[in-house]
C-alpha cells in the first residue's frame, strides 16, 4: 500500500498532477470477496476496453493478456490471480494499475475490507482438531493472502508482508454477492460503488457411479425442502424432494459453503428463505481438516472409488470456495444411503457439470470422478431468461465495495473497476436454453432484468430495476 499512500499523498498535496500520475509507476490495489464473480472479473481484466484500455502484454507464456501471475494462478477459476493494464475509465485513465486478487468469499471479503475477522467455533464432533470445549478459528482467508511480487506472483503473503507495513493492511475493494447490510459485518459502512450485475446460483446433485432409484428421482429442489434439508441435514428423508413415499430410505446431504460465503447467504435468504445466521447441518465427501490448516475444510483429492469416499458431517461449516463444493460433488457418493446436493455459482457449477478436476481450472476428469447433475429449483432450471423474468429466484446482487471513507486514487480506480466490470457484464448475451442445455451467464446485466428487488433479499417484484443500481441504507 506504500505506493497508494504515497501517490495519494502527492496528489492531495498537489505536488503532482493526475496526468502525472497516469504516467507514473504502477499503482497496486488489492481486491477480495466473491468467488462467484471471479470469472467475470477475469474477463473484464483480460478484455481490452473493459477495466483496462490495454491489458498488459508482458505476461507469462500461455497467459491471456493482462494476467501477470503464472500458472496455476492464471485461470478464470483461480482464487488468487494478479492482473495488470492501463486503466480505461476516469481521471486515472491511462494509469498502469495492478489488481491483485484473492477471492475468499463475499462475507469474508466484506469483513476483510472492513478490517475485521470472521471467526467460528468448531467442535470435535465435526472437526477432530478442535478442543473438547470447541476451538475458535478465523475463517480461511482472514486476512486474505495475495500473490507476492517478490515471488513473481507465484506464492502468497499478507498485504502487510507484501508492503512491508508495520501493521495489518486491509484490502482496498471487495466483490460481494449480497449487500453489506445483510452481511455479518454491517459496520463500519463501506464505500458503496453499486450493483454490477445479478449473480445466480444453482443446486446440483453429486455423482454416483451406482445410483439407486431414489437418486434418479431427485430432480427438483422445492424451497421448503431446501430449507428442511439445510436445517435437518441427513436425517431428512429424500421424499421431501421427490414426493415419492418410497424414498424414505435415503437421506439428503447438503454439501455447501462456510459462513464467509455469499453463495451461502443467498442460499439462506433468497432460496431457502431462512434467516441468514440460522445454523445448518452440512456435510462433505472426503472433506478433511488438515493439521496444517486445522480450521479449514479441505478436499482430500480422492474422488473414488466409492469405498474410498467418506461422508464427513461438518455442521454449520462448509468449504471456503465453490471449488471445494464442486470437487465433493464430483466424488463418487454411491452406496451411502444419501443423495448429496450442493449449491454453487454458475461458473463452479459448470466445472462440476463438466467434471473439471485435473488442476486449477482443469478441463478433465480425475481418477474415479464423475459428473454432477443440475437440479431444478421450484421446478425451474437456472437460466438467464428464467432469472430475468422472475421465474427463477435463486440469485443475488453483485456489489462492489471499497474501504470505509475511501479517497482518491482508490476511489478513482474503484470507479474504473465498476465501469469496466459493468461494461463487460452488459455485453453478455442471453444464450437461451438453460443450464442443462447451454452455458449460462454467471452474472446477468441489470438492464436486462424485468424484475427487481426493493430490498436486499426476498422474492422479486415485476418491473425495471430502479437506478442507481444500489439499495439505500
Amino acid at each position: 500500500m506504500k505506493m497508494n499512500k504515497f501517490t495519494s499523498a502527492l496528489v492531495g498535496l498537489g505536488v503532482i498532477s493526475l496526468a502525472g500520475v497516469a504516467s507514473a509507476a504502477p499503482i497496486t490495489v488489492y481486491i477480495t470477496g466473491s468467488t462467484a464473480a471471479r470469472a467475470n472479473f477475469y474477463t473484464a481484466c483480460t478484455t481490452a476496453g473493459d477495466i483496462f484500455a490495454t491489458p498488459s502484454a508482458t505476461v507469462p507464456a500461455g497467459n491471456a493478456a493482462g494476467v501477470i501471475s503464472p500458472s496455476p494462478n492464471n485461470a478464470n477459476s483461480a482464487n488468487t490471480i494478479t492482473f495488470e493494464g492501463t486503466l480505461k475509465s476516469g481521471p486515472l485513465a491511462g494509469q498502469d494499475v495492478i489488481i491483485n486478487c484473492s477471492w475468499t468469499g463475499s462475507e469474508a471479503g466484506i469483513s476483510a475490507v472492513a478490517g475485521t475477522t470472521l471467526k467460528q467455533t468448531l467442535f470435535q464432533a465435526q472437526n477432530p482438531n478442535a478442543a473438547p470445549g470447541g476451538t475458535q478459528y478465523s475463517l480461511p482467508g482472514q486476512p486474505p493472502l495475495y500473490l507476492t511480487p517478490a515471488s513473481g506472483y507465484a506464492t502468497t503473503g499478507t498485504i502487510q508482508s507484501i508492503e512491508g507495513a508495520g501493521s495489518q493492511v486491509n484490502p482496498d475493494f471487495t466483490m460481494a454477492d449480497t449487500s453489506q447490510k445483510v452481511s455479518q459485518t454491517p459496520s463500519p459502512a463501506l464505500t458503496q460503488y453499486g450493483i454490477v450485475g445479478i449473480v445466480s446460483f444453482t443446486p446440483m446433485k453429486g455423482y454416483e457411479s451406482s445410483p439407486d432409484a431414489t437418486y434418479g428421482r431427485v430432480t427438483n429442489v422445492p424451497q421448503p425442502a431446501l430449507a428442511a434439508a439445510l436445517i435437518a441435514g441427513e436425517s431428512l428423508n429424500a421424499y421431501y424432494l421427490t414426493g415419492n413415499s418410497a424414498d424414505s430410505v435415503d437421506g439428503i446431504g447438503i454439501i455447501g459453503r462456510n459462513l464467509g460465503s455469499g453463495t451461502k447467504v443467498n442460499t439462506m435468504l433468497n432460496a431457502a428463505l431462512l434467516p441468514v445466521s440460522q445454523l445448518v447441518s452440512q456435510t462433505s465427501l472426503n472433506g478433511t481438516y488438515p493439521a496444517g490448516t486445522p480450521g479449514t475444510l479441505t478436499f482430500s483429492g480422492v474422488y473414488g472409488p466409492a469405498a474410498s469416499v467418506s461422508d464427513n458431517p461438518v455442521g454449520n461449516d462448509g468449504y471456503d470456495s465453490g471449488s471445494g463444493v464442486q470437487k465433493s460433488l464430483n466424488c463418487d457418493g454411491s452406496g451411502k444411503g444419501i443423495v448429496y446436493l450442493g449449491y454453487l455459482g454458475i461458473s463452479d457449477a459448470r466445472h462440476a457439470f463438466l467434471n473439471d478436476n485435473t488442476g486449477a481450472g482443469g478441463t478433465g476428469s480425475a481418477a474415479n470422478s464423475g459428473t454432477a447433475v443440475y437440479l431444478q429449483f421450484n421446478g425451474v432450471y437456472e437460466s438467464d431468461t428464467a432469472i430475468e423474468t422472475g421465474n427463477y429466484t435463486w440469485w443475488g446482487q453483485e456489489n462492489l465495495y471499497g474501504q470505509a471513507g475511501q479517497v482518491a486514487p482508490q476511489t478513482q480506480i474503484g470507479d474504473g473497476i465498476l465501469t469496466g466490470l459493468t461494461t463487460q457484464i452488459n455485453t453478455t448475451v442471453n444464450p437461451g436454453g438453460n443450464v442443462t442445455t447451454t452455458a449460462q451467464n454467471a452474472i446477468i446485466p441489470v438492464p436486462s432484468m424485468q424484475v427487481y428487488r426493493s430490498q436486499d433479499y426476498g422474492n422479486p417484484l415485476q418491473g425495471s430495476w430502479p437506478t442507481p443500481y444500489q439499495f439505500q441504507h
Binding site: 467442535f123 464432533a125 470445549g133 436445517i231 434467516p275 445454523l279
Partner: protein, 256 residues
C-alpha cells in the same frame, strides 16, 4: 458488571483466589455449541416487547459439577424492560436453551423435565436457536435478524413464531420472573448415532440457574447438582470458624 466487580473486590479483600466468573458475551448470533439465556416481556406494553439474549458459553462446560456466574447488563435490561414496563419484575420471562446439533452434540433446556425423544426434532430446534442474535432488540425483528421470541418462545405459555421454535418442538424453557428473580432447573440429553439416524439419550438434571435482574444485583449464577463449594465458600467458612474459635477463646478467658 457491578456485582462482578463487587464480588471480585470482596474476594480480593479476603485474599481469596481461584473463583471463576464467566463474562456475558455479545455477538451477532449465538452460533452452535453454546447455551443462550433470553429475556422477553410478552405480558408488558408494546414498548417492552424486546428480547435480551446472553451467550453463556460452550455447552461442554455445563456438567453437574460446574458452577459459574454471569452479569446482566443493567443498561440493556433497563432500556429493554424496566424503563418500558412498570410491572417488569413479574412480567419479564427468562429461559435457557442451547447445545450442539448432531452426533457428539447435546441439548440443554430449562423448565420441567422434557419428554421429547426425537434427536431430529432436537436438531431442528437447535438450528433455529443458533441463529438467534445476542444483545437486546425488538421481539418482532424479522429476517435477516432472528429474535429469541421467534426461535425459542414468545412467552412462558406461547411458542415462538418460527415453525421450528424450541417451545414448539421440545418444550417451553421460559418462566416469569418473580419480584425480579427466577430459579430454573437445567436438563440435558446427549445426541449419539449417525447424522442419518441420530439418537437422543435420556434426560438428566444438570443443575440450577438463579437469576436476579433487580438493579444492583444483575446476576446469573449456575450451580451443578454435584458442584463442590467454591474456594470462596471454603474460605468464608474457614474465616467464620476462626472467628467462632476466637470468640470462644475470648469468652473462656473472661470466664477464667
Amino acid at each position: 458488571m457491578k456485582t462482578h466487580l463487587y464480588k471480585a473486590a470482596l474476594l480480593a479483600a479476603l485474599g481469596v483466589a481461584g473463583t471463576t466468573m464467566a463474562h456475558a458475551q455479545a455477538g451477532p448470533a449465538l452460533g452452535g455449541g453454546v447455551l443462550g439465556l433470553g429475556f422477553n416481556d410478552a405480558a408488558g406494553p408494546a414498548a417492552a416487547q424486546n428480547d435480551y439474549v446472553i451467550n453463556l458459553g460452550s455447552f461442554i462446560n455445563f456438567t453437574t459439577t460446574y458452577s459459574a456466574s454471569w452479569s446482566i447488563s443493567q443498561s440493556a435490561f433497563d432500556s429493554s424492560f424496566i424503563s418500558q414496563d412498570t410491572l417488569w419484575a413479574n412480567n419479564v420471562a427468562v429461559g435457557v436453551v442451547g447445545g450442539l446439533q448432531g452426533p457428539g452434540g447435546a441439548i440443554f433446556i430449562t423448565g420441567s423435565q422434557p419428554t421429547i425423544t426425537s434427536a431430529s426434532t432436537v436438531n431442528n430446534a437447535l438450528s433455529a436457536l443458533g441463529g438467534v442474535n445476542t444483545g437486546n432488540y425488538s421481539s418482532s425483528s424479522g429476517i435477516p435478524t432472528d429474535p429469541w421470541s421467534s426461535a425459542v418462545a414468545a412467552s412462558p405459555t406461547a411458542p415462538g413464531n418460527a415453525a421450528n421454535s424450541v417451545a414448539a418442538l421440545i418444550d417451553n424453557p421460559m418462566s416469569n420472573l418473580s419480584n425480579g428473580s427466577a430459579t430454573l432447573t437445567l436438563w440435558d440429553a446427549s445426541i449419539t448415532g449417525t447424522s442419518r439416524n441420530p439418537v437422543l439419550g435420556s434426560w438428566t438434571e444438570v443443575g440450577t440457574f438463579s437469576i436476579n435482574a433487580n438493579d444492583g444485583a444483575d446476576t446469573i449464577t449456575f450451580r451443578g447438582i454435584n458442584a463442590v463449594p467454591e474456594p470462596a465458600t471454603y474460605s468464608l467458612s474457614a474465616l467464620g470458624g476462626l472467628l467462632l474459635l476466637a470468640l470462644r477463646y475470648r469468652s473462656s478467658r473472661k470466664v477464667a
